[in-house]
Symmetry: D2
């Protein structure tokens, strides 16, 4: 499972572009981090909302994949993001979780924290639906 | 207005990273395009969902800004995206529209189409809330 | 199709409780109205958000059903509602539309208007996902 | 606070129509229950999605109100609901929580469980935005 997700992640060029890395993989729970690169910002020089979306959506998708049969891949059907605070800090950390697995639909959430030294601040909350597709 | 939005857009480094450009600005309606760069893809080599989100959200935000007082800037409070089809083609085009302007909340939508030659296909639909903040 | 939807609607006791009625059924487009009954209100005596949700969701669901095989029924997987204005007037009218039909997921929207005499005001916008289930 | 919320709740006729009751009020956390009345059902005789929405949205709104100044009332700006399982059982219980309070926007979630005897099953998950309005 771990290998399968790392291999899929490595093929997502957007993740490299944004400097994202997998921090942890556990059943139903995947953590992805990304530095707030100079090229990932909005007009006030903090992380663009799309960075929180990108790593939150990806963490949630792989969390879903950990609970799917080996022959499956995963696609986002829909995702909602509430932005709670500016994405300022050393890096963003997204924790994706499965709320309800299913054969046709997997309901997921993700929390995105901005990390500055030892401080963590919740900056975005995502809730959405992943669908398994045959690989 | 046109100048103000182009200047704000130019300060969003994420837009340059993703190769996004403003195609049109009209009151309550902004169009942004982005090539599907080699670095903007997911594991099946089509556009990452975060690319549709990034340009859809940004087009919707600037559409809202066109109807705000000059002293305002705009922030995304929340955004929901439904992904309808893979983002495959020459480029993605996001059209952001204001559904209801307001002093405290501006309700917006965006459609994202994948463009291949003269063909356009709807690949994502966004609905969300923008809030004015003092510049 | 018309008969099948009217028969399903008649079995939804919530629709009777809320005084909802089918106004029109066309392929991919269903209209449902509801008076703002004395028992359907929130604390300021206008329509409760749940009334807009109830008829918007139901109109969108039946719009999806018009494009499904006869052996299907429809369930809401997820629905997002933005509330734009208080639901004040003679009645609410929800127009549900299919944005993208599909074998596994049907993407829908609904607009809810408050109607006062000949005036109509957009009070809610919904965007969501319907799934076909075998009857 | 407790008195203020109970008095507001009592003025929401929709809550009486649906048989909803306040079970608990704590800072940032409100619980509302509702029997699945004969008049609250969809075509398969389980709770209509609008019942989960109604009590989830209301629990989340009052959870937000517990953290607002006394002169405020609360309105739902937007709410997203994912439906996880049919609403079958003795009653539904909605637990609304504040994720992030704020002067202009309050981010909330709600979980809705179907309760059958001592068993509880998560049937819906909501995530949304409440706005304070002057009373």
């Amino acid at each position: 499972m771990d290998q399968r997700i790392r291999s899929s992640f490595a093929r997502q060029s957007m993740m490299q572009t944004l400097g994202a890395e997998i921090e942890n993989i556990a059943p139903g729970n995947v953590v992805i981090t990304a530095s707030i690169l100079p090229g990932s910002r909005q007009q006030h020089d903090v992380a663009h909302a799309a960075l929180s979306f990108a790593i939150g959506d990806t963490a949630a998708g792989y969390a879903a994949l950990t609970l799917m049969p080996e022959s499956s891949e995963v696609m986002t059907a829909e995702m909602k993001i509430n932005l709670l605070a500016p994405g300022a800090g050393d890096l963003l950390r997204a924790t994706g979780k499965v709320i309800k697995p299913g054969r046709r639909l997997v309901i997921v959430t993700a929390e995105v924290h901005a990390v500055t030294g030892k401080e963590e601040k919740l900056v975005a909350l995502l809730q959405g639906t992943m669908v398994p597709v045959s690989a």
